[in-house]
């Protein structure tokens, strides 16, 4: 048993996918182990509520496991898995929209988001032009990304965190290549501007 486990750990991701598609649950488990960090981090930056991150991660991983046979080419795993993550995220946004008392995802959030970021920074007594010691840079970046309007948030996460190409992002978000290009550029500028005084 032990030696078998080591073997799975040694396999590359494409081989693991191939085996998982042939109902090899051990391979599937190993694949999830590798992918979970990515999925978790993605939701950590996308989700407005920290407490949702774990549930979303679990659900996305389950969807990946359940649908692994529908992936035609193992080389496309990254982009395929991110499509599942993105769809789940959009589903969640829609659900939250229907609930009252939640922050809307429309362009108005730009203000809300900025406010959130400012509140966070003020709460921790961070002043502009000073390195904010009370807060970890990671937390500031997270608040910054979270404060971006919806379409910018998703593209910057897919690009910088997941390393998807513009074409893959266009497919995932169902938008044109030009839109992706300008959104990423604007997301970077916005983030840089809102965080420049704090990091």
């Amino acid at each position: 048993m032990g030696s078998q486990k080591i073997q799975y750990k040694k396999l590359n991701i494409e081989k693991l996918i191939e085996l998982a598609q042939q109902d090899d649950l051990k391979a599937l488990e190993e694949l999830i182990k590798i992918e979970q960090k990515n999925v978790f981090a993605t939701f950590a930056y996308l989700s407005n509520k920290k407490e949702d991150v774990s549930d979303l991660t679990q659900e996305a991983l389950l969807r990946i496991a359940k649908n692994i046979k529908t992936l035609k080419n193992p080389k496309n795993f990254k982009s395929w898995a991110n499509q599942i993550v993105t769809h789940l995220y959009y589903d969640e946004l829609r659900k939250n929209l229907r609930k009252p008392n939640t922050i809307s995802i429309d362009s108005e959030t730009e203000e809300n988001g900025d406010l959130m970021l400012k509140n966070l920074l003020q709460d921790k007594k961070c002043k502009p032009n000073e390195k904010c010691l009370a807060l970890e840079i990671e937390e500031i970046i997270r608040a910054g990304i979270n404060s971006l309007p919806e379409p910018f948030k998703i593209v910057i996460v897919l690009r910088e965190l997941q390393g998807l190409s513009y074409e893959e992002i266009a497919n995932t978000t169902k938008s044109s290549l030009g839109t992706v290009k300008s959104r990423i550029a604007r997301a970077r500028t916005k983030l840089q501007q809102s965080l420049k005084n704090y990091i």
Binding site: K37, A44, Q58, E138, R159, E160, Y166, L191, Q192
Partner: protein, 177 residues
Amino acid sequence: MKDPNCEQVETLLQFYIEGSLSKQLSNAIEFHLNICSECRNKYRQMALANNVNKSDIKQYEAENGELKNSELDHFTKNLSAYIDNELGDNDNFRIRKIAIINQEARKELQDILAFRQILQDSFNKTKSKLKKDYSEDTINNLAFEGKRQYSSKIYYLFLSALSITTVIIITLIFGIN
């Protein structure tokens, strides 16, 4: 002297182009470039960029005094795609040229690269923070869903068998009557 390998040649290319290597080393690189097409391509690209460095900049400065606004616009608009390696050769070349000529543009490029590094560090830190292992739960949930599907299949099979039997019994009763 041992012939240099591709990696060594690549490291020395810039100095080779500038002509600051010893004769012996320079010859060794020239020899390698004659036999290795990959390094030869790299050499051509680098030589091209160096050309931009010198002659083109001088020409540019002489002609314009300062950068054309349209070129700066192009730079700002495409910088993000440039660092993502999503531009064609021609656009890449234009961006590089401006970054060399214009100090502000160069600073912008450095800033965006530094910012990307901060993002990457932050992402990696978040990834490393994941303590929970979801893999076992995922497999268990999968098995559970599979079982549920299986039992619901049996349930439907049972229901349809029941309804067929009922229909047969009713027909039989009415048939006899």
